[in-house]
Amino acid sequence: MWDSLNRIVALIRKELLAVLKDARTRNMLLLQPVIQCLIFGYAATLDLNNVPYAAFDRDRSAASSALLAKLDGSGAFHRIANLTQADQMSSLIDNQRVLLVIQIGPDFQRQLSAGQDAAVQVIADGRNSTTAGTALGYIGAAVESFNADWRGDHGLPPPPVQLTPRAWFNPNLETRWNLVPALVGTITMMSTLMLAALSVAREREEGTFDQLLVAPYSPTEIMIGKAIPAMMIGVVQATNALLVSQLWFRIPFAGSYVTLYIGLILFLLAAVGIGLFVSSIAATMQQGMLFAFVVMMPFALLSGLTTPISSMPAIIQDLTLINPLRYAIDLVHRVYLEGVGLGQLWPDLWPMAIIAAATLSAAAWMFRNRIE
């Protein structure tokens, strides 16, 4: 028993040394989470800032100026042109110089003063429909604000029904708050998967795998000895991402670290199982990397990281049930942003436990039988 433990500890030590001593893998492992967090944090935003637009104000009244001022003052929009003729609109949109054109009719103020509804036309470039949709949302809010002011200034009663929105957990509705914590799970999975996938392949390439097998190691011991270092490094990766998220992006952490790490460790078990399974199939490091990449891609895309799971077709949603990353991202959101406790995380924890058990047993079986 003790012998077994000693052997495994020796293997863990050797693995860590081998990975950390190679400057290239070391840099890749330590820098990657930081770089990815930064890129995702800054580039992956569905919020809008600085949207260029053109105004075709045919009314030139106080009211129309007030409306346009609302847009300019929102921070999201940036007027780059005041049009004087209708045919100027299409060229600006076609050439992508503006994302939208706002057309205010010549009777705008008159209609409003007469108690009629006055139409404001918005033409948006739908080449990226998500961006367009979000922009229209912003415009809607700006127009509502104008309407409220108008009513106030003219002593009119408020509309029969008003909507008062409030948001849970993310009062400013920043995209980044969704993405960056989710990255904690994604980055961790990528690193752990990659490391585990490469570990056996590297030994096979170097020829040392035979040496391990001839030595008193049993295939199970080898597996444990490779799983644990991968997990240890995974935890470090997660911590790095967490630090960037909290200290650099200042996204407030609402939950308990203990809960978070418990959930993460369970997640890592699942990820490591997948990585080791891949490793037992790959004959060279190159193949290992490739398989890990091919496996990681659907996991990452179908995890709710970039597009919500609820928008996916039903069949695909069912498929995501076996994706550990999906649960991990959900778990991190809940603990990080919502401050949920361990008891309520149960729906995320037990699927990961099952997946971990399944992948680790499959990997163990492969190790024992495909060792030749």
Binding site: L112, A119, T130, L156, P159, P160, L163, A167, S310
Partner: protein, 385 residues
């Protein structure tokens, strides 16, 4: 043994013959190697299926809980408005506590609450409806608010049309939207063309970089160098097969766009082919440059992924709008070739041959291709040390 100096024509013929031999060898290797199959066929198919069927940025059928504190016909009208809206899946819920439980367990993404004195205040023209959204996905939350606004306004308009209530409705600005180029407002229309960028980058850069590094590692370059083969012939022999494969990937995407996903294509095929070739050249040249410099398969593939695939996904404007990012990131994106290609693709698919967009972007791609090829030529030498 020294042959007499051959004529120009025979030298050219010999050159062409050698290039052809190299291309043939490369093509055979591609078809017989399982990792080529994985990158060239499996990955693109997977991406097409994922992006076309699974990923959607559209917000539709959002589940919301509707809580009515005090039943009344006015409250029912509000509830009906949500139930009728195509954007929502409204579930009438008995109490706020129950609704909150639903939200916490993420069975609904929002709670619409009609407060207790709604009917009375509606008569006075002073009513308000509360909506609580789950803010974790900020963007989605914002869009939900917009749709909810619309649903509520519709309820109000219906009441006004029926003449109910005597609240004087003052005039207000009403927004009429027109969405150009994507009237269906379907995110697939821009996601699927964006696929083309990813797939070409994978085949052009990733596969090529692996392949060259592999020759270094296996030592086959050593014997190859000691033949009449010249460096530029080796480069051409590597570029052509992956170029052809890349174009094959393009065809695959176009076919699936048209037949599987019904994404419209407004531009001309010729323009598409032309600009795609430019981007493909850029990708292949990048892959070659990276692997000529690094010579290790493992390292080359890592670096290529980080230097080409990640930027193509994140910094090209494919999903995330580049105008909204901080200045630094925007500046970086100008150096990402995929950015120009995405712009070209989105325009070609949804708007048509808009030359004022196409020409500048294509010119940039062409310039980058020439630069990269020149650098690769310099970095590749027939020498081991």
């Amino acid at each position: 043994m020294t042959p007499a100096a051959p004529s120009r024509r025979t030298r050219l013929a010999a050159k062409a013959w050698r290039v052809w031999a190299l291309i043939r060898k490369e093509s055979r290797q591609v078809f017989r190697d399982p990792s080529s199959f994985a990158i060239g066929v499996v990955l693109p198919l997977m991406l097409i299926l994922l992006f076309g069927y699974a990923m959607s940025l559209d917000v539709k059928h959002v589940p919301v809980a509707v809580v009515i504190d005090e039943p009344s016909s006015e409250a029912s009208e509000i509830a009906a408005s949500f139930q009728l809206s195509p954007y929502f899946e409204a579930h009438l819920t008995s109490s706020m506590a129950a609704a909150q439980a639903l939200m916490v367990s993420e069975k609904v993404d929002g709670i619409v609450r009609v407060p207790a004195d709604f009917a009375r205040r509606a008569a006075q023209g002073d009513a308000s409806v509360q909506i609580l959204v789950h803010g974790v996905d900020g963007n989605r939350a914002r869009i939900i608010e917009v749709y909810a606004e619309a649903a509520v306004a519709q309820a109000g308009a219906r009441r006004a049309a029926e003449g109910a209530g005597d609240a004087a409705t003052g005039g207000q600005a009403v927004v009429e939207n027109q969405l150009w180029f994507n009237s269906a407002n379907d995110s697939r229309y821009f996601l699927v063309p964006g696929l083309i960028v990813l797939i070409i980058t994978l085949i052009g850069a990733f596969m090529t970089s692996m392949v060259v590094a592999r020759e270094w590692e296996r030592g086959t370059f050593e014997a190859l160098f000691v033949t009449p083969v010249r460096t530029d012939e080796i480069l051409i022999g590597k570029i052509v097969p992956y170029f052809v494969l890349g174009m094959g990937g393009l065809v695959l995407c176009m076919l699936s766009a048209k037949f599987l996903f019904d994404v419209p294509f407004q531009g001309s095929i010729l323009t598409l082919t032309g600009v795609s070739m430019l981007y493909l050249l850029v990708s292949v040249a990048t892959g070659l440059l990276i692997s000529s410099s690094l010579k290790s398969q493992f390292l080359a593939s890592q670096v290529t992924l980080v230097a080409t695939f990640m930027p193509a996904l994140m910094l090209s404007g494919f999903i995330y709008n580049l105008r909204s990012v901080p200045l630094v990131v925007r500046l970086i994106s100008y150096v990402v070739p995929a950015r120009y290609y995405v712009s070209l693709l989105q325009t070609l698919f949804l708007a048509g041959d808009v030359w004022s967009v196409i020409l500048p972007n294509a010119a940039i791609l062409a310039a980058v291709a020439v630069l990269l090829l020149a650098l690769t030529r310099r970095a590749t030498r027939k020498s081991l040390g």
